[in-house]
Amino acid sequence: MSGARLVRVLTLAAVASLSVAGCAAKTNSGDSGGGAGSNVDIPVVSQLPVPPNAASPAGSGNATCSGVTIAYAGAETGPNAQLGINILNGVQLAINEHNQANKNCQVALKKFDTEGDPGKAPGVVTQLVSESDIIGVIGLPFSGESKATGGTFQQANLVHITPSATNPALTKNGWSTFFRALGNDAVQGPAAAKFIVDKLKANKVCVVQDDSDYGIGLATAANQALGDKAKDCQDKVTTGQKDFSATVSKIMNAKPDAVFYSGYYAEGAPLDQQLVNKGFTGKFVAPDGVKDDKFLQLAGDASGNAYFTCPCVPGELLQKFSDAYKGVSGGQAPGTYSLEGYDATTILLKGIDSGIKDRAGLTNYVKNYDGDGFSKHFKWDATGELATSTVYGYKVDHGKIVYVGTIS
């Protein structure tokens, strides 16, 4: 059959071509030793000072309530589902622990999937808002969809806490029902700059930002803090980009001590990997959007030079939380923002346990809330920003992301 002969001919040709090209090119073998022998060694911090009176979802155990629901709105499917699932598991864990401890106060959880798409979010959130039993919401993970639906929550006076949307503009719309359970870019940017300059002793930095408002907001804040150290080495990449040869050659020309990538792991990992491929020996610093096990999968041993800043506390370090989380997440370790989701739900549950049954009451409760959570101290100012929020440092050590202490 001529088809088969054609297949043989072409594969033989492929074999010939590859071996010819292969031998001509390759001489060395084995790994030329990736990873940056950084001259600065930062000790690993293995245990975390858990605040003694951190609020737990179980609460007093004898709360009474009925017909009250908490909702999760965010991505469960679609291209950026992973971040949403991390948060959802945290929320589910808190609800389960609460319902086990308070037999006669069973709080229901309703899930609304927005696919993280600002176009789909209004339809889903309008439906959520119209269900009167919902009095509190663990909010939308992404800044885009939060912007598209903030007005709807405000109109319904329904409190919604976002564990991950960090764009500063969200708290400038005068919404009284929006609360952010983590530091915004304006906090994390300067902290990252401080970490690069003080801890990593870098005096020439390249800042690479992606095109999401998370990436742009964070890069702007970091650039202000870095000042002239990063003035002449800036570059832009875009979501979905896979090949960074232009950015890599720009960085190799500038020969910086460190690169600060402001964006998500989907682009951060290939960028770091292509940098190390081209022989970059400096440090690769990235924010919470990149701090994820998927970064290690995608970047491989090139991630040896990676450091992370994150306003999030390493959930995996709290052994008790980590084990309980695995029960809910089907064996996955806590991801980025899982602990924030857990803490935020705890605050809503404490509100319900204190007898609040209506939306206005819960909004008020959250507005005046002042207490420790596992991840941080929760106290909000008038606009919904956390009064104080600490940023934590991490680094990659032997293929694992480890905690290296607080930055500010």
């Binding site: 297949v7 040709a13 590859l18 090119a25 989907a266 970047a299």
Partner: protein, 332 residues
């Protein structure tokens, strides 16, 4: 200042000629590498268009399926995000295994695609609009089958070897990865060219391309030739997918093929649709030009925009492409 002028002022794209000048040669070599991959994929478009006068939109998915085959074979062989410690012989053997697998998988998908989606339509002699709509439908069906099977995000990176500079030309170094890809692509294109122009089967392809009815009268089994055309397009696309994964290790994603497919089609048109040597020339040229555009205009998207602009310009001023349509005459 009037709001419109401020709007236009920041919209003005500044041409970063400086960085283009000092990265010119590295851009060229990198562009040639991408061009080689575009050329191999463009072959699929050129062959099918030459014979069937049909844009096979689903060819980009035939390509990405090959990339998944490469990913599975290599990760099965122990490759992963970090460069493997293998001797040359073992490395080349593994890569060949992956390439052959990719070629066979892609070819299989291409043939099945022709059999299931296009043959019933060809039998009924439907207008061209129907073919195009089916091709788009097929492209999305395969794409979103992969989406549901492997999920939205890209597969973990599969590093084949860390590229090292072999020699420097005009101050820009050429690494072994670029050499391998361009050399292998040239060899494969040569084989394809010889096959179409020298062998009996190749004559069958050219005959059907020129005039399908007369070719059938002359005893050429038209159906087999068409199947053969898809088979060849698939084989070459499979080989291209190995080089793509070599160049962009974290590029194995359900949507990875679509834009690359359009750029490969632009390359095929640039070279002269239906013209095998045109596919090679068009591919290399498009790879280089879109790389320049990317550096000149400062953002990676510009390489796609430049490719589309080239396609439109070529179609307007010289629809038969640089080398002219050789396989089939430009049938309306």
């Amino acid at each position: 200042m009037h709001p419109l002028t401020t709007f236009l002022a920041d919209a003005w794209i500044n041409f970063d000629v400086g960085s283009l000048r000092d990265q010119f040669w590295s851009n060229t070599f990198d562009g040639l590498t991408y061009g080689a991959i575009y050329a191999l994929v463009a072959m699929g478009y050129t062959l099918v268009y030459g014979v069937l006068n049909l844009i096979n939109f689903a060819h980009s998915e035939v390509f990405i399926v090959g990339a998944y085959a490469v990913f599975f074979v290599l990760s099965g062989l122990g490759f992963g995000p970090s460069a493997p410690a293998l001797s040359i012989g073992a490395l080349v053997a593994d890569l060949l295994l992956a390439m052959v697998a990719a070629m066979l998988v892609s070819a299989a998908v291409a043939v099945i695609l022709e059999r299931v989606a296009y043959r019933p339509l060809r039998r009924k002699g439907v207008p061209r609009l129907v073919f195009l709509i089916t091709a788009i439908g097929a492209s999305f069906t395969i794409q979103y089958l992969i989406f549901i099977w492997r999920g939205p995000s890209a597969e973990p990176a599969v590093i084949m070897f860390r590229p090292e500079a072999v020699f420097t030309v005009f101050g820009a170094d050429i690494d072994d990865q670029q050499l391998t890809i361009v050399a292998a692509a040239l060899v494969l294109m040569l084989v394809a060219d010889v096959f179409v122009n020298r062998t009996r089967l190749g004559r069958g392809v050219r005959a059907v391309a020129q005039d399908p009815d007369t070719a059938t009268l002359m005893g050429v089994n038209k159906e087999r030739v068409i199947m053969l055309t898809f088979l060849m397009g698939g084989l070459l696309a499979g080989a291209a997918s190995l080089f793509y994964v070599m160049k962009v290790p974290s590029g194995v994603q359900y949507s990875g093929g679509f834009i690359l497919g359009i750029k490969a089609f632009a390359a095929a048109v640039l070279g002269g649709i239906g013209n095998i040597r045109g596919a090679l020339l068009g591919g290399l040229l498009l790879g280089v030009v879109s790389n320049y555009g990317q550096t000149l205009l400062g953002a990676s998207q510009w390489s796609d925009v430049v490719a589309f602009v080239v396609l439109v310009v070529v179609l307007m001023f010289r629809p038969t492409g640089i080398l002219g349509e050789s396989l089939g005459k430009a049938r309306v």
